[in-house]
Amino acid sequence: MEKINPLATSLAGLSLSSPLVTASGTCGYARELSQFFDLGMLGAIVVKGITLAPRTGNPGTRLIETPAGLINSIGLENPGVEKFISGEMPFLRQQHAPVIVNISGNTEEEYAALAARLDKVAGVSALEVNISCPNVKTGGMAFGACTIAASRVTTLVRQHSQLPLIVKLSPNVTDIAAIARAVEDAGADAISLINTLLGMAIDIETRRPILRGTFGGLSGPAIKPVALRMVYQVFRAVKIPVIGMGGISTWQDAAEFILAGATAVGIGTASMVNPLAIPTIHQGLQAYATRQGVRNIAELRGMAHQ
């Protein structure tokens, strides 16, 4: 008899072995995590944000620990799309999990060029369009903060790529549902949220902000209630699937996001604290599905709305 996998998930035309995906930027290009578990158990590998040209990242302090959270200001350090394709894709292609490439641009044209470049690359299963990075001077979050800009970037990327398109939203907005509807209308196949919340810390001795860029992105358990609320709101606002993330560190957290409406969930900061977080959550979620008496975890999706 064929063993049924209660965690099997389909998302924007992709078949995932589980709803658990890595959150971009918290697992590099997955080589490091592969030392700890078989990446084949991931629903998908979402890689660190890629830009057209290489970026060395931000100078000075890049990390600040906060109560149950972490502020980062990495600044999208990455080898650039060409080196990513030649240097990282060969390894990623060998893993038995779909690869979702997170892309970031300074301009609309850069998003378009990235989408076009990655379109025919073997092994790339989908694009995650990051219009929500708080750690770069231009572009990034600016695109995610306004419905018009968000919709324009989405339309443009859609025109340049046949791949399933996931648009990653910033929580640093007043009306997340409006942005979500805008990117859905512009052709997004799925939405992921949340990226990090804008935050800061001040050195009381030097009396200056600790980060050179003043603000950074807050992640980790501290942001979970905000992330959950936004996933809940977006689930109501759109028909396309939602990848929920923000502070998930246990299977219970993952279950909450699914009940709020997430089709898949991203694990970020938790993997940085415990590289075995995803396998541990996987186990817990599987047992939970069984206990809830569902054949597939999808049956629990959005149940909190009923």
Binding site: G25, T26, C27, G28, R31, E32, L33, Q35, F36, K48, T56, G57, P59, G60, T61, R62, L63, I64, E65, P67, A68, G69, L70, N72, I74, E77, R212, G220, P221, A222, S249, T269, S271, M272, V273, N274, P275, L276
Partner: protein
């Protein structure tokens, strides 16, 4: 990338003792790490199973005992994480990952080695000394502290055959002044084949300048706030001396050749 697949799991605390007013040594039974570890590598320890403090705390390996299957870390209580670690009891199940990072390179001519330690920078030197001494090297260790309360390890290092010269500004050491002044004086008197330094940023920077001027190859063990310790987040950087991009201390280091590091980075 780390050279070996690191162990990630639980290790039992077999000792956690105060060795100086604010300094403790935690010894853990973890044959997996003890077998694979090299001097200069580190372990990343969870101080709490709760969400706060969230991140693990990195510590250099201060003892590597393959026969007993144990490793130790020598740590100074400076904040919440180290405070919690100091409360670990015998038999405590400690959540850790290691060994991590690249340790000291010991394949270079090292017959007359020089250690320069500042404060807790003394931590990684004992296991390094063991390896060098087994190879018949002679070792001089210049060790700077602020006051007598900060001294640790001296008798242990001396027992295995390291010549330790202490420096302090309060006059408690052999030399009255900063360890880098002691270093300058020492380099005028004696030639060394290889230098190793660990300590505060400013000390490492001055040590680099003095050693390069004396044409002494120098390895430095660097610190930075770290999150994962694994190369996942790219958060713990220091600029390369090429002026273009960054080292990632957790995976490229923590030990790097001093000439490869631009110490002008601290704001």
């Amino acid at each position: 990338m780390v050279e070996h697949r690191p162990y990630c799991g639980i290790a039992e605390a077999v000792e956690n003792v105060k060795v100086a007013p604010k300094i403790w040594r935690l010894t853990l039974y973890t044959p997996e790490i003890a077998t694979a570890a090299k001097p200069g590598q580190f372990v990343n320890i969870r101080a709490s199973s709760q969400h706060d403090p969230l991140l693990r705390r990195p510590f250099s390996l201060n003892r590597i005992d393959r026969a007993k299957g144990t490793i130790s870390v020598l740590y100074r209580v400076v904040g919440r994480g180290t405070e919690l670690i100091s409360l670990f009891r015998l038999g405590e199940k400690v959540d850790l990952i290691g060994p991590l990072g690249k340790g000291f390179a010991t394949s270079h001519p090292r017959q007359n080695s020089l250690f320069v330690a500042g404060g807790m920078g003394i931590a990684p030197f004992f296991p390094l000394a063991e390896i060098l001494l087994a190879d018949k090297a002679t070792i001089t260790c210049l060790y700077g502290v602020r006051c007598a309360d900060d001294l640790a390890e001296v008798s242990h290092l001396e027992t295995i055959g390291v010549k330790v010269v202490t420096a302090s500004e309060d006059g408690c050491g052999h030399y009255h002044g900063q360890v880098t002044d002691l270093l300058a004086a020492t380099l005028r008197q004696e030639d060394f084949s290889l230098g190793f330094a660990c300590g505060p940023h400013a000390m490492l920077s001055a040590t680099k300048d003095l050693c390069l001027a004396a044409k002494l190859p120098l390895q430095v063990s660097l610190e930075s706030i770290m999150a994962c310790g694994l190369g996942l987040c790219l958060g713990c950087t220091c600029p390369k001396s090429n002026g273009e991009d960054y080292w990632h201390i957790c995976t490229d280091g923590p030990v790097l050749w001093a000439e490869e590091v631009d110490f002008a980075w601290k704001r």
